[in-house]
């Protein structure tokens, strides 16, 4: 398992996506899937950076694990910020007209659309979000 821990700030977003991209390339992840994974990582990390410890700054850990048959990547985000289950967020209504659409909820919605499995638990004071993406 590959693991990185950084301060959860927007400035560190690139560090985490670069970390993931390197391993995805090593595991011959198709480019389209790699981009979807990058989007997933960004949306989750930005959520943690924006809300988990606000207005303080705290750490976020990201783990990557690869599976074969079928080829897939398991991704885990862990933070010690306030408890927050992103899966409880109501999906935006994508059929609404422009004036009715608001700006919230798009990130986690994109995450759900781009992974094959996603689970959340709060354990020992930590938010743990696990996701699986099949290549």
């Amino acid at each position: 398992m590959e693991k990185i821990t950084v301060d959860a700030t927007i400035d560190n977003l690139q560090t985490v996506t670069d970390f993931a991209t390197n391993y995805l390339e090593e595991h011959s992840c198709p480019m389209k899937v790699a981009m979807q994974i990058e989007l997933v990582i960004e949306e989750i990390f930005v959520n943690i950076a924006s809300y988990a410890y606000h207005p303080e700054i705290g750490p976020a850990t990201f783990c990557l694990e690869f599976e074969e048959n079928p080829a897939a990547v398991l991704m885990t985000f862990i933070d010690g910020g306030r408890p927050y289950n992103p899966l409880e967020r109501i999906d935006p209504d994508t059929t609404l007209g422009i004036e009715e659409r608001d700006e919230g909820g798009l990130g986690i919605f994109l995450v759900k659309k781009n992974v094959d499995e996603i689970t959340y638990e709060y354990e020992d004071g930590k938010n743990i979000l696990r996701m699986k993406k099949i290549f």
Binding site: I10, D11, L13, Q14, K32, M35, E38, L39, E42, E43, V46, A49, P92, T94, T95, L96, G97, I98, E99, R101, E103, L106, G107, F109, L110, K113, N114
Partner: protein, 98 residues
């Protein structure tokens, strides 16, 4: 991300180059607050936009709402990967994509 603007009277084309993510979206948002003054015909040229995340979508939504009041807005040269995100979120139906 890099932004290139071309303006002729009230017609403005904004070329967004690179990545429209949580790091860069605030820069575009800031740029638009003044750049859209007096504009009635806005075009985003996404020929060199490789990636968009929800932070970028929010900027587009705000721009679209503003342009609905003062003129028209369209997206051109949208790449496959950016289009996929616009489709997934229903944004493709809210905006004029040519």
């Amino acid at each position: 991300m890099e932004i290139k603007k071309e303006q002729q009277g009230s017609t403005l084309t904004i070329k967004v180059i690179g990545r429209l993510d949580a790091g860069s979206a605030p820069d575009l948002s800031k740029e638009l607050t003044t750049a859209l003054d007096g504009v009635t015909d806005l075009t985003f040229d996404f020929a060199e936009l490789k990636y968009i995340a929800s932070a970028g979508l929010r900027v587009l939504l705000v721009a679209q709402k503003r342009m609905n009041k003062q003129g028209t807005m369209k997206l051109t040269n949208v790449s496959e990967s950016v289009m996929e995100v616009l489709d997934m979120t229903g944004f493709a139906g809210l905006m004029t994509i040519v």
